[in-house]
Symmetry: D2
Subunit: 331 residues, 4 copies
């Protein structure tokens, strides 16, 4: 790698919350240049109006004339369902792609071969494969929070019985579409669950990755997302029973994440969303539960849904793909 | 009962959030009159400055010269720890008392006899005993939410294994003391757990009542409170496994609460805090969980922590004690 | 008047924020009954789902078969522009109507005669004419706040030079339509002006009423509305110069509002939105300005935009029209 | 200047909101190193717990043994009143200082000579003098917002009559002290003015600078601050009358700020707090007022109170003092 190279990056879907956050992060990144920023709406709007720290230039129309081949890597921030044709176009142009939609995270058996070869872009779990991937499927925000907290126990096969995941997210996780239930007057001074009863789309993704981590012996998951009256941030509160008590309860996380630049382990503490909001890292808290017959832990995992949960993680993947320091532009 | 009587009520600790809410509720109540409103601070402040709908009059000093004997019932809204001497004074004056502190909810074996005779003031569970009680211990906000959701299953002995209670509360639940962690700049755009690992004071109260409801065969509880960036309201998200599947999952709640004026059962729905905020009722949602090996439910219980979780429930108890319609002034 | 009569009220447009608030207020009102509640959407939804305290019944479709003639008074909460045909239908059915839209507040010369006879429903200014009106045009929220503060000086002709009105409103003032700029993620942690430069629709209404109050000698107005990250409430901060200093600066307001049940004057104080939120009154603060060459005042006027600024004021007008105590159901 | 030099900076009062923000900005700055971070409380706390992006190290005790002489520049973020002795100690150690308190902004005639030589650190107005200053008095947040908007007109002597400044700030502007009126439950869903009637401490500072800009012919100011339910950000809405109409109303600002890296002029638009929050710039909007007898403008000025209003402006001053590019680390 030439450390002085400036890589040329394209962003598709730059006007959504994740696209804007990416623009802000890449605008301040020392080794990349946003060469292309396209969207289906707000065409012609100066990028500097979209996000603080954005580079010069304006939003281009998302159409087939886009010179995708001139970018080193394209990051696709389009909504779920709209992403696949664009990923395919980038590959056809011979370029690498990071896709933020859910479409490539759990490819079915009968999906095209290139999509089955997409690497799940959670660097703490799949770092080596990301470095050389043609297509990286950037994880969902809830799975990122849950999997970082659960991975050390899943790998060690230490969990007994079901894992209860209650997670709460700020509203930017739902995107910028004008939905009545996301109006200020509906969200403010309110709190509610949604998609309860194990019916949220992110469950498949969590189960698939938990299965890989556990070599097939994975616990049941019960996942309940909630909507918080905040703009950005996720806190997952995770309950589980251990097969055997741990003498040093936080040891698995300390060991797993000792060298990780973007994961902070808080022993016996409860990370808050404010600990991570506006940043690109995750904070994990491990709290033993008293007064139960079998050994139990409550885990907390906090991320910024637009940072480590979306655009920040995309930059982390981009750094890996380009051979740059992994946390470049993210601390 | 003389339906036209106007009962004279005293409020001790009227300047806290629960005291103010009570003032507002009683100021609009057709059958009572606030004859005495005392506090340790803000003495002399007109009651109308404390709460909308408050009656005329001003805050009196909380001292031993208070004419407690002139009230029919005294409601004590003093902080935990400060309440007992005042409850005792009311009893010595020959009057009945409702105490909002935690001090009388789980009396120890060696507590004074009168405190062991206090009735736990959750009307949906202990209505008949409340009618004739000398001392009513008004429940905590978290226990109110959790117990209303769990009571039908606890009574029927249908729960298998531990019950996970993740609950989130607005900041008025923490009182009006100027704590740095409750400043707007710390709470806004934030969310965090506290007292995780089964160490919250309200656990004893929940366990004690659950034990009574279950005739001794009660499940383990894992209780984790969280702080929401809202002023008022609690949502409890409760996870449990059933001994046997329920054909009609919401039937136990429909049956238990069919006649209850202040409990609303929402089948397959997730109540939000907005459904109950500013009111005095509870909303309970029952959602079956899919994709698990044993039958599981997720229950939701929403209350306003100052309404059904404090002052509203105190008025409900007061109505019972005075022979008035139970929901008078609460709908 | 028969004090025991229960009047039958119709609500058109019951699903918006003002309609819901009205439903809540009328559901608790001792002398009226909501006989008809119609809307263009959410037809069939139980009224109790729309608002706390709502009566039994469900939303009817807003169509020409509505039995408007069976209501004593109809309150029309339809959006600006959609209201007039419905007001006309109510009049044709021989009934009285209160209209919450802007359409009848400043009728043009060539408007139909019945619309030119609509009475501007600010009871503190036009009480006697409201009692007997066939059509009451319920004032806008900003004009209500501004006019209550300015009326005593306008009547006395004491204002010298332009009046600067900076007002800030919660988002329910903008209605329930799903606009991208009203999403939680756009409004939270934000504050902005809109319609600056004297182009807001409410200016005509303020100018017209100021003109009537001042007998033609009215000052210029500069009105700038702002959007607050709160659900409900308006604070108007009003700056003006006096023709002559006032010895007792708050005297004009004390005198004007001494007998008003819903207006509270705060001398030398600054009312906050919390002083009025959730209620139906207005709070006015009068603060002399120091260090200027001519005598100046800063006035503050706080109302709840859904209370005194919409539904609460409609109920106040309704009480006047029905000969009931003016503040019935509003304190 | 040696562009590769790393300057050593000290921060006194690092645990307040401005101190933390400064820590975050300097931790990411390429040409400086935080060599000293002291406070009266939270001694020993790792800096990384205080702010994202903070460097390694921990909070030192603020006592007389601090090696102030080892820093190239010391930034003093202590509260008003506590700052002066520390500024004096830095000067005695032969070092330069930026003081964020109000103490040095308007030095009296009888203040020590060194304090009368402090330069008012608003770079857009006093850039050249800041470069060589020994002591820079960092401006208040409200004066920064107001003066940037007013400077072009003040300099040109174009304002006729009084200037009305209604400004609204997030709560971090009031500091981290645990005041009851800054609790979440008091601030949320609320909005209120404070220090109305021209009694706010920042007025002297505004008047003094306006006087200098206007060569003595300065207009009267009427300043009314308000408290917003947001964490950070200020919007000033400013009303004034012009001596003569402007053909191109935004021309004075376009010309004054054409080369300014941190000031953005928005013609005919109303900047929002979201346009600047989390950043270090100011956005100024210029809106002509219609329908008034004399030509009037409404100006809007938005800054982040912790950015351009405090720590960001301190870094801008620091860059000037060290001969670095002025916006280094601020975009």
């Amino acid at each position: 790698m030439d450390n002085n190279a400036i890589w040329r990056i394209g962003i598709l879907g730059v006007t959504g919350y994740a696209g804007r956050e990416l623009l802000s992060l890449l605008g301040r990144h020392r080794h990349v240049h946003v060469g292309l920023a396209a969207a289906r709406s707000e065409v012609g709007v100066p990028l500097r109006k979209l996000a603080p720290g954005a580079p010069a230039g304006a939003v281009c129309a998302l159409d087939e004339s886009l010179p995708l081949g001139e970018c080193d890597v394209v990051v696709c921030c389009l909504p779920h369902g709209a992403s696949l044709p664009w990923v395919e176009r980038v590959l056809e142009a011979g370029r690498r792609v990071i896709d933020l939609s859910a479409d490539l995270r759990v490819p079915g058996e009968d999906a095209p071969r290139w999509s089955r070869e997409a690497v799940y872009g959670l660097p703490e779990l799949h770092r080596e494969r990301i470095r050389t991937a043609q297509v990286v499927a950037n994880p969902g925000c809830y799975p990122t929070a849950a999997l970082l907290a659960l991975a050390p126990l899943l790998r060690a096969g230490m969990i007994d019985g079901p894992v209860i995941i209650d997670a709460a997210s700020g509203t930017t996780g739902a995107g910028r579409a004008a939905r009545p239930d996301l109006l200020f007057a509906e969200v403010s001074e309110n709190f509610r669950a949604y998609a309860a009863g194990n019916v949220h789309r992110h469950l498949d993704e969590m189960r698939d990755q938990a299965h890989r981590l556990g070599n097939g012996a994975t616990p049941e998951l019960v996942f309940t997302p909630h909507l918080l009256p905040i703009r950005r941030g996720i806190l997952a509160t995770i309950h589980l029973s251990l097969k055997a008590p741990l003498e040093d309860p936080a040891a698995p996380w300390r060991e797993a994440y000792a060298e990780e630049p973007l994961v902070r382990v808080m022993e016996g503490e409860m990370p808050s969303i404010a600990d991570v909001a506006g940043g690109n890292g995750a904070a994990i808290g491990v709290v033993p539960v008293t007064g139960t017959s079998s050994p139990r832990l409550t885990l907390f995992s906090a991320i910024d849904n637009l940072g480590k949960g979306a655009a920040g993680q995309a930059v982390q993947n981009l750094n890996l793909m380009l051979g740059l320091p992994e946390a470049e532009g993210l601390l």
